[in-house]
Structure formats: C-alpha cells, structure tokens
Symmetry: C2
C-alpha cells in the first residue's frame, strides 16, 4: 500500500500532510517557512517534516508513492520548477529535482496553490462528483483554476486563470500588478476592507466607524465588514453588494469561456458566505446565457485549510499514474 | 492510403471537400442545403455529394478513413448529435449515426462550425505551429473556440466559448439571445453595420450617408464601413475604433482565462483587417497582464472558406485515431 504527501507552502507557513492511498489525511505538521533562509533551506525543512510525518506513522520512505506541493507564484508543473514567487522570493527553483533528491528519489510534483486547492476541493470537497470544476480563492487577491475530468487547464506558459487581473470598466484602484481597476482590487478580502474604509472616509455612517475610530480605520478587515453586516449595518451591506456585483462580472466571463459544472469559492473572503454570494447570484443571472444558469452550481469551499494539502497529494497521486 | 471528407454545413449551403491523408484538399463541391426538406434529406444529399467526390477522384468508399462535419448550433461531439440548430431547424438529430449508415458504416464525427474552423486554422492555417490556438469568427455573430495541443476545449455540456454572449457594461442593444449589450451586438459584421446606421441616424456626417441615402441606409454592411474608412471617412473610423475597443474587452477575458499562444480572427468582419485590429490592439494592451502581452499573437485567418472543410477532415482524422 502506498502513501502520499501533500505540501502547502506559503510565505508564512508550510503545512505538510500524510495521506493514505484513498487520500485520507492521516496526520499533519505545520512550521514557519523561514523563506529568508533561501530555497535550499526551505526544501530541506520540508524534507525533514516529511520524514517526521512518516516516522510518526511508522512508515518507511519506500512506502511513499509521491509528494505533491502547492506553491505561490508561477510554476512550470511539467518540469517541476518554481519560475517566480514574490512571497517566497524564489526565481527558477527546480523544486521537483531538489526535493526529490533530498528524499532519495521519490517523485515530487508541484503546481500553484490555487490549482492545488481546486484539485483538493474537486477530489474530496465541494467539487466532488462534478466533471468540470472551477475553483476560486478570494484572499489577499483572487485566483482561479479549472479542472476538466481530472485534468487541470493550463494554457500557454501555464498562465491560464488570472481572473483577478482584468480591469473592470469604471474602476480605477491601483492593483498590485501595476494595472488599474482589476477585479482583484474589489473581489478579494483586501478589496472588501479597502472599499469599506474608503466609504467611511467619504463620510458614510457605519458601525465600522464606531468600532474603528480615527487611525484605527486601517485595521478594518473583510471579517469586520461581515460582522457589521450581521448587525444590520447599511454601509457593510452596500460594500458586500458592490463586491458581489463585480465578482459576478468576472464570473460571467469565466462561466461563458470555461463552462464549469460547479464553482467552488474559498479563501478568507468566502467566510462572508451568502452575505456576498446572494448579491453575486442576483447580479450574475442577467449576465450569462440561460443555458448556463441551470447548469452551474456555485458553492462555498468545504475543506478549509486542508484543500491545498489534500489537493497536492491527489495531484501527485494522479501524476505518478497511481 | 486513406482519404478524408470534410463537410461544412450552413443554413444556406453545404460545402464538401475530399482530402488526402496529409490533409491536402483534392476537390470540393457546393450545393444549397435545402434545410426545409428536413434532416434526412440533407444528410442524404451530403452522402450523395461525398459519393460524387469519391467517384470524381476514382476512389472507393473503402479508402475513406472518416468523415468530419462542422454544424451550426449546439453539438454533442461525443455522441455525434446535433442537439439544436436554429439555422437548420434541427433538434436532436443523430448525425453521426444516420450519415454513417448512409455511407455503409464509415465513421462520422461532428462538432460546431467555429470549432471546426479553429481546427482547420490550427492544422493548416494561421494557427499552424502553435500549441494553444484560439479561433474567433466575426460574422452575423461572434463565436470562439480553443484548442490546446490538438484537443478542443469543451467544458460542461460542450458549451464553453460563447464569447459573444456576455453583456458589456454600458451597452444595451438587444441581442438575438434575448440579453442586452452582448459583445456580439457590437463585435460582429452585424454590429459594425448597426452601429454605423445608428450613428448616421443620430446625424453624423459620413460618406455612408451619401452612398446610402434615406431608406437605403438599411443596406449598409460591414464591408461598406471599411470602404468608407479607406476614403478617410471619420464616422467609419470611429465605428471601427469603437468596435475594436469593445472586442478588446472580450479578448482580455479570453486571453486571461484561456492563455492562447495565438488568436486567429476570421469571419466576414475580419475583412476589415487592421482597420479593426489596430484599435483593438491599442485597447487590449492596458487590459491584460504584461506576461500575456509578449506571448499572444493576434492574426487574421488564412484559409478563407476552406477552414471549416479542412478542419472537419482534420478533426475526423484525429478522432478516428489515424
């Protein structure tokens, strides 16, 4: 019987999970990434975390089928290279080769984090049982991936799916990518907080102004906006309506071009749940052909923090041909 | 040595082509569709056209590897069924089964017309040599298809790619699909002609007003707008700029979600060439991430009317596993 490892690496933490051949998560470990120490250090740390997980379960390396890893940034999943990651400060790191070597030749497969999250939700979460699964995460930014009958959609340069980086008409907030008015400046946890702050600054009355007086305004998060919404706050309601409507504009294009059976929405801002999804659904209805309307289900992610780890392991299992 | 047949069927005409194993077009035939006579009649007509092509080349049915066919409307390419075609007035016609039977068991593969056009341009036209080929046709409407390493992208229900049917912000023209402001109401041959007529009616001065006085305004076509453009007409220039800018809005989403290496633009309105593409490129630049800008080539179709016939034959050859 074979076991699989899934690794979810971010700028702050590394989470490693040990899974059995049926992709049940047996045990997890979490450590600070320590990216400042460089890629060799980080990959060494991951190798040691994997060995500890195996030892804890009484399993030898020889029983390990493959290792999968979800990375932030741009990845070449065929050659197993992290091309560029702002969070990790990695450029052209041959992750599969180096980590595979540290593990005595065990195959290592990598891809970007939203693809591994989507793979996880498709395999074991809200996308289970659907043939065409689109995943999006609403966090600091917005990211998307598409899986058709188990196969990730890549496009040229593995660059398909940068849903967050198309400017919307009439929007002008500066995006981290350098363009203006990108969907990500609105439909993300960061966007929700920013828009709430801006509307407060324009003088709108809101509980948020009471909770975060003066300079403390900068501390407002998307979660605070949801909390105010639940207290009946009008500004919070308007912000989530505005964000929901703009999210619908992007999803209309994604549904029309990708035709998913299900869209699984995760990431921090997904915690807003129906507060955000209800206005999104209402705005989406007139933006897509009737034939899509009855076809595509829109769901919240189900696996929380485990989607990346389970998805990476499932991806590794599939790529290893097991 | 095997031969292949490609069929391009529209509401008005059927074009059949006979191709050799290297997909060279040996001979073509064209007849009126006669759709009013029903699907059995039309398929019988196609079978007889195929037999005539074979006889003309001195080839027996036994040397035919497969038949491919591009159909207007919605297709199930796996079961070979024309699900719904407004142009042909077909509903759930089992094209592959019926035509295959008429041809004594030769395998018949079908898909929609824009997919076959894209397949043709990818195999032998402007998309040749690219791994990720997006095709669009700007005709009565706008349609799109995506091919990745020889594989068509389908999505749920084979419905991916209805690029023409996403409403644009600020636009409100009624679309044939029942929605308002769809990209197709602008970025199509029909859209170009409509917008030119509307601007004339609003009192703009133009050569088009001289060429088509009074009631004759309704005769203006996209080709006339190009003709006026070449005479230095300001209204024609503004119309093609406006259409180009809106086409860019749709292409920005397609590039971001699909990541093609090349976009091949065909259909009647593509005859506008750089008159339309130059403003489109200018508008596209700030709407896509820099990483896409250097990557995606935008080209005019090269195969004219043959793309559908050659694409259908190439598709049939691939599906037959030859």
């Amino acid at each position: 019987m074979s076991y699989y490892i899934g690794v979810d690496i971010g700028g702050t933490n590394i989470v490693c999970g040990l899974l059995d051949a049926e992709l049940n998560l047996l045990r997890k470990a979490k450590k600070p990434t320590g990216a400042a120490n460089g890629s060799r250090y980080v990959l060494g740390l991951i190798a040691s975390m994997i060995d500890e997980l195996l030892a804890g379960q009484g399993i030898g390396r020889s029983e390990l089928g493959a290792v999968g890893m979800g990375n932030p940034g741009f990845i070449d999943p065929i050659r197993g290279i992290s091309l560029s990651s702002a969070n990790l400060k990695w450029e052209n790191v041959p992750v599969s080769d180096w980590l595979g070597e540290l593990l005595g030749g065990i195959p290592v497969f990598i891809d970007n984090d939203v693809r591994m999250y989507t793979y996880g939700e498709a395999a074991r979460g809200a996308g289970r049982g659907y043939e065409h699964v689109m995943g999006i995460t609403l966090g600091t930014g917005i990211a998307a991936a598409m899986i058709n009958k188990g196969e990730l959609y890549y496009g040229s340069g593995f660059l398909a799916g940068e849903l967050g980086h198309v400017p919307l008409d009439g929007e002008s907030a500066l995006c981290g990518c350098g363009m203006r008015g990108c969907l990500e400046t609105i439909a993300s946890a960061t966007g929700i907080a920013r828009i709430a702050r801006e509307r407060l600054e324009q003088g709108s009355a809101s509980l948020l102004g009471e909770w975060f007086p003066g300079d403390r305004r900068s501390e407002i998060t998307a979660a605070d906006v949801s909390r105010a919404y639940d207290e009946g706050d009008e500004l919070a309601k308007q912000v989530l309506q505005f964000v929901g409507r703009n999210l619908a504009r992007g999803l209309a294009w994604a549904i029309t071009l990708w035709s998913p059976d299900v869209i699984v929405i995760g990431g921090g801002a997904a915690n807003a749940g129906e507060r955000l999804l209800a206005p999104m659904r209402e705005a989406l209805e007139p933006l897509i052909l009737p034939m899509y309307r009855g076809r595509v289900a829109i769901k919240l992610a189900e696996m929380n923090d485990d989607a990346g780890v389970v998805g990476s392991a499932a991806f590794a299992k599939a790529r290893a041909g097991a």
